[in-house]
């Protein structure tokens, strides 16, 4: 099979299969969790739960990421904050604000948006890759991370890292013909999409639950979150 055929497969049937697998997989996991049932909280609140939820999301998105050093724990382990923060920022910039990815979104959902110039996106993707490497090294040496990491953590890292690397190589034409590079990128993306519902990469779905629970629990006690 030549690169062109592989590419056709990876961005055609395989892509749609992986996409559907991801969506159904996540929906299934979400359903499994919700179907375990939620007992009603009969405790009378001292403060507003709703306010707690709103405040915690606002702080999590708009305040803490920009002034992390005010938190004690930042000073005790800044690497994980900076590495993790830059990695997520890089993902956002590349996947949402990079022109080629925006076009993929456009083809899927029907509309597009303004994007950032290529050099900025390119630098951000390089930063994301470096952050990932540092985070992996950190995971191998930090005593707590060593203890809590197993094959699952390594595979999750690998399947996120590969699309980033192949994407970067594709932009810079490193390691083969355009079709071959493109095909490699698409295959790694497809594998990632399949891996998401099978792993903890799915945390972005459950994040909204745990953060809301946090806001509720602190809000009902009238404590700042």
């Amino acid at each position: 099979m030549n690169s062109q055929a592989v590419l056709e497969f990876a961005r055609g049937p395989f892509f749609y299969f992986a996409l559907l697998f991801m969506l159904f997989g996540l929906a299934f996991r979400l359903f499994s969790v919700i179907s375990l049932g939620w007992s009603r909280d009969r405790v009378s609140p001292m403060g507003s739960k709703t306010k707690g939820v709103v405040v915690t999301f606002l702080k999590a998105f708009l305040i803490w990421p920009f002034i992390p050093w005010v938190k004690n724990t930042f000073n005790r382990n800044p690497l994980i904050y900076i590495g993790g923060g830059l990695f997520h920022l890089s993902l956002f910039v590349v996947i949402i604000l990079g022109t080629p990815h925006m076009l993929v979104w456009k083809s899927l959902i029907g509309f597009g948006w303004a994007t950032l110039p290529l050099p900025i996106v390119d630098w951000m993707s390089a930063i994301g890759i470096i952050a990932m490497v540092i985070l992996l090294i950190n995971r191998r040496i930090h005593p707590v991370l060593k203890l809590i990491s197993g094959p699952a953590e390594f595979f999750a890292w690998l399947f996120v890292f590969l699309p980033m690397l192949t994407g970067y190589m594709m932009t810079h034409h490193i390691g083969g013909s355009y079709e071959a590079l493109y095909a490699r990128h698409m295959i790694t993306v497809d594998v990632l999409m399949i891996w998401i519902p099978l792993s903890r990469i799915s945390h972005f779905v459950f994040y909204f639950f745990s953060r809301a629970i946090h806001g509720q629990e602190f809000g009902k006690r009238g404590v700042a979150v």
Binding site: S32, R42, G84, R200, V223
Partner: protein, 422 residues
């Protein structure tokens, strides 16, 4: 006959609703929670990372409720829980965790780790894999009504003595009183001046209050242990006393875990609990001082060196009474009251809560974690540390002795009582 492990697994599974599952699913295993834990900070032992302390709960959930978890366990990629595991995690959870919930303040996913760690305890308690001294204290509370040996007679004599010694009236079993006060045996047995102080304050305020000979112990060792059965048994004793006397509200005195259990959990286990307003004495003090029902002498504590305030995890961070002690201390010691860093909901636990102080084997880590507190207090140069929790106070007085510190450890109620305007 179920094995120990099966009992624990059953309890873990029982603990798991969508609420727990969603939070376990959100964990990215980033390990940041470790940095919040005072036991980890003090010892550097990676096993004290909160995420690791709840490892068995995670395994139970994944292996029982998720397809991937089931497959992984079958393939040997995820370990099954064994009896040895239970014993090991019992040490981690009862010796090196005060369930202070500081970890949830730093979790980037906002997971309420403290509640999950309580779930861990529930499993361990169901399997009866708990430290012998904690188990003995629970048994004592079941049989005698109090873990500190405060039997009916002892309670009776102690309160009589307090009333005599401090010349204060302690109304008993008054039907039709508005407020029922339930002291902790720590106060009655070890800090009796606190009992006298609270009585003095409530009398001064003209509060219609009473103690109940039925509800004489607020401490809840079942909640420390994590056993729902014991927790409910002890909660019911308090609620029955309140029901008999027909009071409207129950005041929990300077005890943190008890307040957490009665104020923030009881209604979910025992529906009648919602018939009563439950409030911590800190809230009452704030109310009385704020409304002017009692008057305290401004600056009364201003001439004895710097005073700082220690936030208790169950009364401030998990209880919500953060502002009241500060408002009061700003009146009592406007010039010498200084905040420690970190403070309020970000404060660091004393290291003795969650039943840890009752477990002898925990002594080394308990003292090690107190060294963080020493640094914080010394950083502001305080000579007096005020607090609203007798369990913290027990840890402070014991550690002050252990480390030979020249601090004064003061209960806030006692400070207020001392400074009351006649």
């Amino acid at each position: 006959m179920m094995s120990t492990t099966e009992k624990a697994m059953e309890a873990f599974v029982h603990e798991t609703g969508g609420w727990v599952a969603a939070q376990l699913e959100a964990c990215t295993r980033c390990g940041m929670c470790a940095e919040a834990c005072h036991f980890y900070q003090a010892t550097g032992n990676p096993e004290y990372a909160p995420v690791w302390k709840m490892e068995l709960l995670r395994r139970a959930y994944e292996q029982r409720f998720t397809i991937i978890g089931g497959v992984k366990a079958t393939l040997g990629l995820d370990k099954r829980v064994t009896d040895e595991d239970l014993a090991h995690w019992s040490d981690l959870n009862y010796e090196a965790c005060t369930v202070c919930n500081k970890c949830s303040m730093v979790c980037p996913m906002g997971i309420d780790i403290g509640s999950l760690l309580h779930g861990m305890r529930a499993g361990l308690a169901a399997a009866e894999v708990i430290p012998a001294d904690l188990a003995a204290a629970v048994t004592k509370q079941v049989n005698e009504g109090s873990p500190l040996g405060m039997t009916d007679t002892v309670w009776d004599q102690r309160l009589e003595w307090v009333a005599d010694e401090w010349e204060v009236e302690i109304p008993r079993d008054v039907k039709g009183a508005t407020t029922m006060v339930v002291f902790s045996s720590i106060e009655v047995m070890k800090f009796p001046a606190n009992v006298a102080a609270i009585a003095k304050i409530l009398n001064k305020a003209g509060e219609k209050w009473t103690v109940s000979s039925k509800a004489r112990e607020i401490v809840n060792f079942g909640f420390y242990e994590g056993s729902e059965e014991h927790t409910k048994l002890f909660l019911n004793r308090v609620l029955d006393g309140a029901k008999d006397l027909g009071v409207k509200r129950i005041v929990v005195t300077e005890c943190g875990h008890a307040y957490d259990a009665l104020r923030w959990h009881a209604a979910n286990w025992i529906p009648e609990a919602s018939n009563f307003d439950v409030i911590h004495i800190t809230g009452v003090l704030g109310e009385l001082v704020g409304s002017g029902r009692i008057k305290i002498k401004p600056g009364f504590f201003d001439n004895g060196g710097k005073i700082t305030f220690h936030d208790a995890c169950k009364i401030q961070r998990k209880g919500g009474h953060i502002q009241e002690p500060r408002d009061i201390l700003k009146v009592l010691a406007p010039n010498s009251f200084t905040e420690m860093t970190p403070n309020r909901e970000e404060s660091v636990c004393c290291g003795g809560g969650g039943g840890v102080i009752a477990v002898k084997a925990a002594d080394p880590v308990r003292y090690a974690s107190f060294e963080l507190k020493i640094d914080q207090v010394n950083a502001v140069g305080a000579k007096t540390v005020s607090m609203t929790c007798s369990n913290c106070r027990l840890q402070f007085t014991d550690s002050v002795d252990h480390f030979k510190l020249d601090w004064k450890v003061a209960g806030l109620s006692q400070m207020v009582a001392d400074a009351l305007e006649e």
